[in-house]
């Protein structure tokens, strides 16, 4: 009886957005009298930080610092339609809608600035710090604060924009299944290293090295939190979780966190995250949706590592000590 070590690899891809498309999201953007910007949506922030990302996307597009953007969302009386936050679609779909709305607002903003500066709007650029400059003559400039005041009180203009993003729905061909499930895919490759106690069947995940390709890391810190969390969930799916431990038998389902097993802090592997960026053609600043796929590759990587360690295949999830011991016993009997 011994502790045996093994490692396994898995490589995957994952579609962004609702399967087959047809999932719209809209956004509205407008400026306050003093040049702050409101993004209005009905999308839901699930705790992954969607509001923050929408603020950064709006700020980038209009050309102001992120702290000048406020996001108002998840209210059906004020926010335009969003299909919902699921299917790795929030950043991609709502992000694109925000870009379109912000571009329209930016155009009005530049037109007002052009009137104030007596130049053509096409000759203007933003400095990202809250000012609008004449290209090639940056000493000629106006603050966005003053532009907004002018728009509201002098020029009677609404610095605002409407955005809409919809990928037309694809209908699968009945006989061949020809279809367009998605317009862009994120990718991952994970290597997991485990120790398996061949006496107790217990698995300890030592390290998980994840490489994710996600189009563009719009906010690297927030990407990291989502990818690390996903990686933990993958390990949890591989080794611990189910509401029906003896599926398809309906008995013995857990009803609280004492009975429903999940890894605790002490069970978490050393987790490494590496991110590659191949911008997607239709993503907001190239972003793809990594929200779901980041929890997938760990499951087969751990399963393959268990085989590498003790030479038995557990093809039924979760890979519990009981299943490993039964497989080892069957292996010894042969």
């Amino acid at each position: 009886m011994a502790i045996r070590r093994g490692r396994g690899v898995a490589a995957i891809n994952y579609p962004t957005g609702m399967n087959l498309g047809g999932d719209p999201t809209q956004a509205l953007v407008h400026s306050t009298p003093t040049g702050n910007f409101m993004v209005t949506l009905s999308s839901v922030d699930l705790g992954q930080g969607m509001k923050q990302i929408m603020a950064q996307i709006c700020a980038e597009t209009i050309g102001v610092p992120t702290d000048r953007v406020v996001v108002d969302t998840a209210d059906t009386d004020t926010g335009p339609h969003c299909m919902g936050t699921f299917a790795s679609r929030g950043t991609h779909r709502a992000g694109n809608a925000v870009i379109q709305a912000a571009r329209e607002a930016r155009q009005v903003m530049l037109e007002v600035a052009a009137e104030e500066l007596e130049v053509n709007a096409s000759d203007l650029e933003t400095d990202g710090q809250g000012n609008i400059l004449v290209k090639g003559a940056p000493q000629k400039s106006i603050s966005i604060f003053d532009v907004a005041l002018s728009a509201h009180f002098k020029r009677g203009r609404s610095i605002s924009g409407r955005g809409m993003f919809l990928i037309p729905r694809s209908y699968p061909e009945k006989e061949t299944g020809a279809m367009k499930p998605s317009t862009c895919y994120a990718h991952a490759c994970t290597v997991a290293e485990v120790e398996v106690d061949d006496e107790t069947g217990e698995v300890t995940v030592l390290t998980v090295k994840n490489v994710f390709e996600i189009g563009r890391a719009l906010n690297p810190k927030m990407v990291e939190q989502q990818l690390v969390g996903g990686s933990w969930m993958g390990i949890s799916h591989a080794l611990y979780e189910t509401t029906e431990p003896y599926y398809p038998n309906r008995d013995h389902g857990g009803t609280d966190f004492n009975q429903y097993l999940m890894p605790g802090p002490g069970d978490l592997a050393e987790t490494e995250i590496i991110v590659l960026e191949r911008p997607s053609a239709d993503g907001p600043y190239g972003a793809k949706g990594p929200g779901e796929m980041c929890a997938n590759p760990q499951i087969p990587a751990v399963a393959n590592a268990v085989f590498d360690a003790v030479g038995v295949r557990i093809d039924t999830l979760p890979i519990t000590p009981e299943r490993i011991l039964r497989a080892l016993k069957a292996q010894a009997a042969n």
């Binding site: 490692r7 396994g8 690899v9 490589a11 994952y14 399967n19 009905s42 839901v44 922030d45 699930l46 705790g47 930080g49 923050q52 980038e60 998840a74 209210d75 059906t76 926010g79 299909m83 919902g84 699921f86 990202g128 006989e175 061949t176 299944g177 020809a178 499930p181 895919y185 990718h187 490759c189 490489v211 390709e213 563009r216 890391a217 719009l218 906010n219 810190k221 996903g230 799916h237 979780e241 509401t243 599926y247 398809p248 309906r250 009803t255 609280d256 590496i274 991110v275 590659l276 960026e277 911008p279 600043y285 997938n296 499951i299 399963a303 393959n304 085989f307 093809d315 039924t316 999830l317």
Partner: protein, 455 residues
């Protein structure tokens, strides 16, 4: 976390100001100091608590319901049954024309899974509601149930859901969603090895910190404000409008920060009945799942069975792949027909295989309906695919990582569902994993790219 900017540097401009910056989340100070408001942080005078009488049987006919004792229980204000729900038989994806309507808000004549909602009790306190639930007498005639997908698909199996008429979802393509590409049998015939393996998963709970729920306030203007942690505001509003036969203009949904979704808050379960309760009593109503309800009543990730048959050559090329996937929907559709169909679009995985045959089935059984969960339709499929890849590599004596390079999809490769590959990056992920994990592969694989550089 490390950003490896050396990959794809020639197809990316790093010229942005706000994007790519690790700005602190504006909501995190609220989260870590306990100041963030969640839907249930509200309290309204006179708010009623809704609790459900749930089926103790997996499959049963309801002979009669006697709620008279529950109605007399101190604190009970109203008891709701199926006849109180204007449009009791519904299905959520009807909004995107995926029917038929197959589920009841409150059971009508029959229950199809253990835990199904039968009677709703509204009371002044949670305790009174819970006590009254125990006093509702339901006379059941227990029926044979089926839990195993293979058993459910056999002729003569108990029929789970009459609205479907058979124990599988009927797609326009028939009993399953199909993908046909090349000639899979010819591929097997010409292969050096053929390997068929079966994979199985069990239902999984989302386990969010915050359980599913909502608070409803009847407003003075004849509208209803519903504070909810749904993941999809209008999807829930529009389905509620159908179920209650109430104009959408009467409904105002307010969300906010949600304490974890993972797909568990995409079903429309708590809102319609809570709004109905508020309408019929004129009082604010809250309906919040207990942890037990969250774990055994709310939809889990579907259990799946996946059979993969591959033909592989000694040089590492996969020449044929046949996948048969079964998704256990439980008693009702919810999002499972969508999930099973998503699987059909995902197989055979990120590999270029000339001959592919895919059938994905959505199967009904007498268990808690499954539905959306992070990656559903794909997550368990990837488990099966990638364990199968490991087995194939070992079968032909090849390094598992190198074996994947040989088959990895690249830009321009035709997928089984007849879309050319665009924006591939699997090869680069594997190259970086090879370095990071000190898992060396042959130089020719490290020199590969997913795309033509400079093109």
């Amino acid at each position: 976390m490390e950003l490896r900017k050396n990959y794809f540097a020639d197809v990316r401009k790093d010229d942005l100001h706000e994007i790519g910056q690790p700005r602190p989340r504006s909501d995190s100070p609220g989260h870590v100091t306990g100041k963030t408001a969640f839907f249930a942080d509200r309290n309204f005078p006179g708010m009623l608590h809704l609790k459900m009488v749930r089926s103790p049987h997996h499959h049963a006919r309801i002979r009669s319901i006697d709620a008279s004792e529950a109605e007399r229980h101190p604190g009970v204000v109203r008891v709701l049954t199926a006849k109180d729900v204007p449009h009791n038989v519904y299905t959520i994806l009807i909004l995107i024309q995926i029917g038929p309507e197959d589920e009841t808000v409150l059971a009508d004549g029959k229950v199809r899974w253990k835990g199904e909602a039968v009677v709703a009790v509204l009371a002044e306190t949670e305790r009174a509601a819970q006590e009254a639930v125990a006093k509702v007498k339901v006379d059941y005639e227990v029926l044979p149930a089926v839990f195993d997908m293979e058993e459910a698909l056999k002729p003569g199996a108990p029929l789970v859901n009459e609205y479907h008429g058979q124990n599988y979802y009927l797609y326009d393509s028939g009993e399953c969603r199909k993908v046909r590409f090349g000639d899979v049998e010819a591929g097997f015939a010409g292969a050096d090895h053929v390997l068929e393996q079966s994979y199985q998963s069990s239902p999984i709970e989302h386990a969010p910190t915050e359980t599913t729920g909502c608070l409803v306030v009847p407003e003075g203007n004849d509208r209803f404000t519903c504070y909810t942690n749904t993941q999809a505001m209008f999807f829930t509003l529009d389905n509620t409008s159908i179920i209650l036969q109430m104009p959408g203009s009467k409904l105002h949904f307010v969300g906010g920060t949600v304490g974890g979704g993972f797909g568990g808050k995409v079903d429309v379960i708590v809102e319609p009945i809570a709004i109905l309760g508020a309408k019929l009593t004129g009082r604010p109503v809250c309906f919040i799942y207990s942890r037990e309800e969250e774990m055994q009543i709310s939809s889990p990730r579907a259990a799946e069975k996946i059979v993969i048959k591959d033909g592989v050559m000694k040089d590492g090329r996969i020449v044929a792949r046949k996948v048969t996937g079964y998704t256990d929907a439980g008693a009702y559709s919810r999002h499972s027909p969508y999930g099973a169909q998503k699987g059909a679009g995902h197989y055979p995985g990120p590999y270029t295989i000339p001959n592919v045959w895919i059938d994905t089935y959505c199967v009904y059984t007498n268990r808690t309906p499954s539905s959306a969960m992070r990656g559903f339709g794909v997550t368990i499929g990837d488990f099966a695919l990638e364990v199968q890849m490991d087995k194939l590599a070992r079968l032909i004596g090849m390094d598992p990582l190198e074996f994947r390079f040989i088959n990895a999809y690249r830009d321009g490769d035709m997928k089984a569902h007849r879309q050319p590959t665009e924006g591939a990056a699997l090869i680069e992920c594997m190259q970086e994993a090879s370095r990071a994990a000190n898992w060396p592969v042959a130089e020719k694989f490290m020199a590969m790219t997913s795309y033509v550089k400079g093109a």
